[in-house]
């Protein structure tokens, strides 16, 4: 595949690794933000090929993983309703809520459907005027243009039985929050390439300046990541702290202005709680008042949810990079892809899932095949403490 395969060349990869070894004179700690980057790094063993002093910390760049538990529980409550067709990106289906997950709900008869594009959810709504169609609008800024367009199109065409459950999260505030932490050891970032393709990189310049950290906008293929690491280490070795673009074939400094315009027509920045991390100010998108009628949270009045995380899950520490899955005593034993306790094990981009799929830390553990486990537990449909108000009748 063009513009993909070329960036997987093993010969060039080894060359880049040799170059990184050549220029590294001191230990450095880097963080890659995006889950897709984590996946490639772990799958290809890139972190293990770097000089011993360079440590890669895997950041909270998996939007599935950081979707707040409250939003997942709200999604479950809404999806359980017989009048609702609940649509979502595939990854969210196995994310555990406080008591169950969307896939288990589907097994019990809820109309839960995977869509490839959010526009598909709008067309489903148009084709099913007697039902309520709700779309779980999660993601980073990369996905916001698509989610925004879905809302805008529904508005334009008067498809009023459509609504969105919004749970967008933003990268720059998360990076700042990590840098603010007194326990932070991250000295340079690989910024998320597709987030920056949409938003550009101007938001990162003040961060680089204020915290004196190099930030390299990086792609997702092995050569992209190696080149991004190389650029970051080069800056660190030279004492520089700038924003640099490795992913030149897809990212321009100003991003895609049309996409940004659409995002800000539909959404505005607000608070957002990140699962496992807590609240980060100004780190999420919410629907603007003009589009509030498409807000599923308003339409279905699901405010009274009380959440409960699994006590053994240390997702928070994993997401900020303070711990790795290898530090988690549940990893590979109680918690595995077929029986995940938390989101980073469910999502294909989650750190724990990436580690597990690559077999890290499982050498001395029982092979998953030998573990006596079955499907994730089933539980009562809606939490008893969350009475649902009747849906607003569509106009």
């Amino acid at each position: 595949m063009k513009y993909l395969d070329e960036y997987r060349d093993p010969v060039l990869a080894k060359k880049l690794i040799a170059e990184i070894h050549r220029i590294t004179t001191r230990p450095w700690t880097l963080m890659e933000v995006c889950g897709g980057q984590t996946h490639t790094i772990v799958k290809q063993g890139i972190d293990e090929a770097l000089p011993a002093g360079i440590r890669m910390i895997h950041g909270p760049g998996c939007p599935v993983c950081v979707t707040p538990l409250e939003q997942v529980d709200k999604a479950l409550a809404i999806a359980a309703r017989p009048d609702v067709i609940f649509t979502s990106y595939g990854d969210m289906l196995r994310v555990p809520g406080s008591t169950t997950d969307l896939l288990a709900l589907k097994a019990r008869g809820a109309d839960v459907r995977i869509v490839y594009s959010p526009l598909d959810a709008v067309w489903i709504a148009a084709a099913n005027p007697a039902r309520q169609v709700v779309f779980f609008a999660i993601g980073f800024e990369t996905t916001a243009p698509a989610n925004a367009m879905a809302v805008a199109e529904a508005a334009r065409r008067g498809i009023d039985n459509f609504s969105v459950l919004v749970s967008h999260v933003l990268v720059p505030p998360a990076m700042a929050a990590i840098l603010e932490s007194p326990m932070n050891r991250v000295q340079a970032f690989l910024a998320a390439g597709h987030v920056c393709a949409v938003m550009g990189w101007t938001e990162y310049e003040p961060i680089a300046a204020r915290y004196r950290v190099p930030i390299v906008v990086t792609g997702f293929e092995p050569l992209d990541l190696l080149e991004g690491i190389w650029l970051a280490v080069r800056q660190l070795e030279a004492g520089r702290a700038e924003v640099e673009n490795q992913y030149v074939r897809a990212v321009r400094r100003e991003g895609v202005p049309l996409a940004q315009r659409q995002i800000f027509e539909v959404f505005e920045v607000g608070e957002r709680s990140w699962r496992g991390i807590g609240e980060i100010p100004a780190s999420g998108y919410h629907l603007r008042e003009a589009y509030a009628r498409f807000d599923a949270e308003r339409r279905f009045a699901v405010d009274e949810i009380r959440t409960r995380e699994h006590p053994a899950c240390i997702a928070g520490a994993i997401l900020t990079g303070e711990k790795t899955p290898l530090d988690c005593t549940a990893y590979g034993v109680l918690c595995s892809p077929q029986r995940p306790l938390g989101a980073p094990m469910v999502s294909s981009e989650g750190t724990c899932a990436a580690f597990h799929a690559a077999g890290r830390g499982l050498g001395l553990q029982l092979r998953p095949l030998l573990m006596p486990t079955l499907a994730p537990a089933e539980a009562p449909l809606a939490p008893a403490e969350a009475p649902l108000a009747p849906a607003e009748a569509p106009r």
């Binding site: 595949m1 993909l4 093993p10 990869a13 080894k14 690794i17 799958k43 290809q44 063993g45 090929a49 707040p68 538990l69 409250e70 008591t99 896939l103 097994a107 019990r108 459907r113 490839y116 598909d120 608070e271 709680s273 807590g278 609240e279 629907l287 603007r288 509030a292 405010d303 959440t307 995380e309 006590p311 053994a312 899950c313 240390i314 997702a315 928070g316 520490a317 303070e322 711990k323 005593t329 549940a330 109680l334 892809p337 077929q338 306790l341 294909s348 597990h356 690559a358 077999g359 050498g363 092979r367 095949l369 573990m371 006596p372 079955l374 499907a375 994730p376 537990a377 089933e378 539980a379």
Partner: protein, 364 residues
Amino acid sequence: MRHPATGHAAQPTATLEADAIACPAPIPEAERVILGHGSGGQLSAALLRDVIVPALGAASPGGVLNDAAVIEVAGSRLAFTTDSYVVSPIRFPGGDIGELAVNGTVNDLAMMGASPVAISLAYVIEEGLPLDELRDITASAARAAERAGVPIVTGDTKVVGRGAADRLFVNTAGIGLVPEGVAPSADGARPGDAVILSGPIGLHGVAVMSVREGLEFEVEIASDTRPLHGLVAALLAAVADVHVLRDPTRGGLSSALNEIATSSGVGIVLDEPAIPIPGPVRAACEMLGLDPLHVANEGVLVAFVPGEAAGAALAALRGLPGGEAAAVIGAVVADHPGMVTVRTIVGSERIVDMLVGEQLPRIC
């Protein structure tokens, strides 16, 4: 409208108390079957191991789980197998459920080294299925049986109400004769064996996905469904000691290899560039975020043969339709028993895991 502060509680403690592990799940559980149990991956294996096999108890003789059972009857060895087909949609590029059902059972017999003797064909039909479709699919099954040289000797037809079956479910069962001295089995792999793949992978799964509602994409790929007993016969004629035969259907190549590695107590090292994966299959997998090693196949087999017999095996396969792209894709080692590994781009080794649960609903 600003979202009210959700006031999420402080993050979970990073340290763990011993009793947090001891009593982890306070929720009373009523477990159910989920789609993932049918995917051919780890959940499927768990369902078999933890629910079905124990419930069968003494009724089941136990032993290694292979594609078919081999039973001694009056001095001959009979292979016996059954499979149900629930693919949706029932027609897909390159075939339909009728053809799939016949080929699949012929192949399960072939994986024990057996030549097919007879098969059965049973239908569970959803009310409302057009008769023309039923005719077409049955004709397709008949053609496949004729091509495989096996008669359909018995069958059954049931009709259920609308919604109780997704258009048509098919079950086929088959019996075959296993020649003297032939006994490939999942626990037969030995260090030093060559792992041989008869052809390109991923075609069936991608072909079916491409017409799956909600996912549709255009691709010039057809399912690779075909009977494999001809390839098997050629292989058995060329190689005295075929250790393992398996057709990697649901769960893909990686699931099959993992099962064999575990059954045999050996490790497998794969040579990824040697695995034939057609361009469009790779592209579709990229697009959907899937691993080609997890995608279902219906027209390829893996064979484990002693290393020195690899050349003869390849020559035998490559001379036949369906085997042109046969290749050695790996080797069996004594290291890391039960695990399949592959070389990464940077030169390190990583584990190739089994599919966990549901990848996409019912592709074969």
